[in-house]
């Protein structure tokens, strides 16, 4: 029997606490990293749930790779803590972190065949030869490269190399899979296919996955959650819908999706009742309503240009004060309005946002 005192003791041993927080996949706490004078990461904190697929999104130089490499242990942060699956990994070496890492340019071992590349990690970890063999074949199937095991990386296409890199990383059954711009070096078509494939793969394998991208569409399409980064800081963490519909900052609003930035004093906001203490308002192109007749909260505008994008129409509108803005219309709406260039229309914003903090890209 366990006495109640023993039980409480057991409750508060560090091991137990570790178990409690094990639902946490990756926990990054106040991590900073400097390269010379340059602050690559500035007190970054991110929690990533176990089993989820998360995108690190941000412009070039925002510190995405540095953060990913810090999680992997390839970069050692100047300060802050990183825990993986509830265990503090800050002082652990790369080798002991049990992560899988996929590099932007694949970093396949050039002098080894595909099969030997995939088997590398298992051989290092001293897995039995028969198991290595079986698992290698399994992985070749998983990444749809059956029959290509004896090729060298130089004999593969970019997309195939990428999948070998993934298979190699998955071979050691990592607790965490980290991918640095996994589709960055591929052409648009292959990229789209691989994206969907990665999503399906994740749904099958369910390993906690973080991938870096600077393509917002890619982030929205693939991930459960998006971490938006800018200048070494985290701007916002949320689901794709949250990040798109409720951006936390001007940066996020303008980085994710197209946006019009107009002065708050513009007549279009005064007429429609949008007001803010901040000098600029942000307006998504699909949040602009276009009508042929004036109504009580519309302002007139001239259709300067019409661009047909197939499934929707993009209209460049010039307001009375000379301000230009972009509005998107559905095909239906466009057909009903029968818009023409240089026509006069009446516009009204359905939704507009303003942000307190500094706006800088």
């Amino acid at each position: 029997m366990v006495s109640s005192q023993q039980f409480t003791q057991r409750l508060f041993t560090p091991r137990f606490i570790n178990k409690v927080i094990k639902f946490m996949g990756i926990c990054v706490q106040d991590v900073s990293k400097r390269f010379g004078d340059f602050q690559a990461l500035d007190r970054v904190s991110v929690d990533i749930e176990s089993g989820s697929l998360v995108a690190l999104l941000g412009p070039s130089g925002s510190g995405k790779s540095t953060l990913l490499r810090s999680i992997a242990g390839l970069e050692s942060p100047d300060s802050g803590r990183i825990s993986l699956m509830g265990e503090d990994a800050t002082d652990r070496s790369v080798q002991d972190r049990k992560i899988g890492f996929v590099f932007q340019h694949y970093a396949l071992f050039k002098h080894m065949t595909v099969r030997r590349n995939i088997a590398f990690g298992m051989e290092i970890r001293k897995m039995a030869a028969s198991r290595v063999k079986a698992r290698t074949e399994e992985l070749l199937d998983l990444v749809q490269l059956t029959g290509m095991g004896d090729r060298y990386p130089s004999q593969l296409s970019g997309g195939q190399r990428q999948r070998v890199a993934l298979a190699r990383a998955l071979a050691v059954e990592p607790k965490v899979l980290l991918l640095d711009e996994p589709f960055g070096a591929l052409d648009a078509r292959v990229r789209k296919d691989l994206r969907a494939w990665l999503r399906r793969l994740h749904d099958e394998v369910h390993v906690t996955t973080v991938f870096v991208t600077h393509d917002q569409e890619e982030a929205m399409e693939v991930s459960d959650r998006i971490v938006v980064m800018n200048k070494g800081k985290v701007e916002q963490i949320g689901t794709p819908a949250q990040v798109y519909d409720h951006p936390a900052s001007a940066f996020v609003m303008s980085f994710i999706g197209p946006v019009n930035v107009l002065p708050t004093s513009s007549k279009i906001f005064q007429e429609s009742g949008f007001d803010s203490a901040h000098p600029e308002m942000f307006l998504r192109p699909h949040d602009i309503e276009i009508a042929l007749e004036a109504a009580n909260n519309t302002v007139p505008a001239r259709v300067a240009r019409l661009i047909h994008l197939g499934w929707e129409i993009q209209a460049e509108l010039e307001l009375e004060d000379g301000q230009l803005m972009i509005a998107n219309l559905t095909r239906d709406r466009y057909d009903r309005l029968q818009l023409e260039e240089n026509q006069c229309v009446y516009v009204r914003p359905k939704e507009a946002k303003s942000f307190a903090l500094n706006y800088n890209i």
Partner: protein, 281 residues
């Protein structure tokens, strides 16, 4: 104007003529120059060595002075090449995979044996280890002889053949990049495993090429070694020193026979080098 096509064509023809002559002249100059400086002297060495027939040639190669010189040269190479290979690998790795203060200074210092005259290199050793050198008194009192003995010759050989491996390995290491090594680390490989399984296979041809050049220089060095050797026949006389000595003593055939051996070695090196260069591509 058009009625006289001859005139229209003339300047064009002239240009064509010049175009075909310039390369011919340049090729001619190159061949003549190489012939005078390289081919004829080299061919002459072979001619002189075999002038009295192959019997005399092989007889020259069995004389004790020659055998002793050849084995000494072999010994120098057998010790100097591995040392400089290991050092070269370590230095190349340290210089490419790390950024530290004084790195570019170190890089240029490694080239010193290339830019310094071999005679000066030998002299530097004498000034350090010679009887009147810095370490002279101490070495003397401990009965250690470096100058005019094998250790001095080895030091000179090490010095002049030092940069080859470093110089050959640095570019291939840089080209291979650190990513494959990082990938190995994420897969659980220790640094030692990474070196043997990833780094070394990636740089093997460049490394071998460097080793080859190191060997050629170690076996062929004359200047630095001659300053520190004392040139005692059958004791401190390496193959290049033997060639010079024999020649001075009017044992021309003997000199040429040994020279042929050295030249053969050089040709072999070039053949391997060519093969390796193709492999690296």
């Amino acid at each position: 104007m058009i009625s006289n096509p001859q005139q229209l064509n003339k300047p064009l023809n002239d240009r064509n003529l010049k175009k075909s002559w310039v390369p011919t002249i340049l090729i001619g100059i190159t061949v003549v120059y190489l012939g005078l400086v390289l081919y004829i002297p080299a061919a002459n060495v072979f001619y002189q060595a075999f002038r009295l027939g192959t019997g005399a040639f092989f007889e020259n190669l069995t004389k004790p002075e020659f055998l002793s010189a050849a084995s000494l040269t072999l010994m120098l190479a057998v010790i100097a090449v591995p040392i400089n290979t290991v050092f070269g690998l370590c230095a190349a790795w340290a210089l490419t995979r790390n950024r530290f203060w004084g790195r570019s200074f170190l890089l240029s210092v490694i080239d010193l044996p290339f830019s310094i005259s071999p005679v000066v290199a030998g002299l530097m050793l004498v000034l350090l280890y010679g009887r009147l050198g810095w370490f002279g008194p101490w070495l003397n009192s401990n009965n250690i002889q470096i100058i005019f003995a094998f250790p001095g010759m080895l030091l000179a050989t090490l010095f002049v053949s030092m940069p080859f491996v470093v110089r050959e390995v640095i570019p291939v290491l840089e080209e291979a990049g650190a990513e494959q090594e990082e990938a190995a680390a994420t897969l659980g490989a220790s640094e030692w495993q990474t070196f043997w399984r990833v780094t070394l296979p990636n740089i093997r041809w460049g490394l071998l090429y460097g080793v080859l050049l190191t060997n050629a220089r170690a076996m062929g060095e004359f200047g630095a070694v001659s300053v520190v050797s004392g040139n005692l026949s059958q004791q401190t006389q390496s193959l290049p020193l033997f060639v010079e000595e024999a020649y001075k003593q009017y044992q021309t055939e003997s000199a040429y026979s040994a020279a042929v051996l050295l030249a053969f070695l050089a040709v072999l090196t070039l053949v391997f080098k060519e093969i390796l260069e193709r492999k690296t591509k």
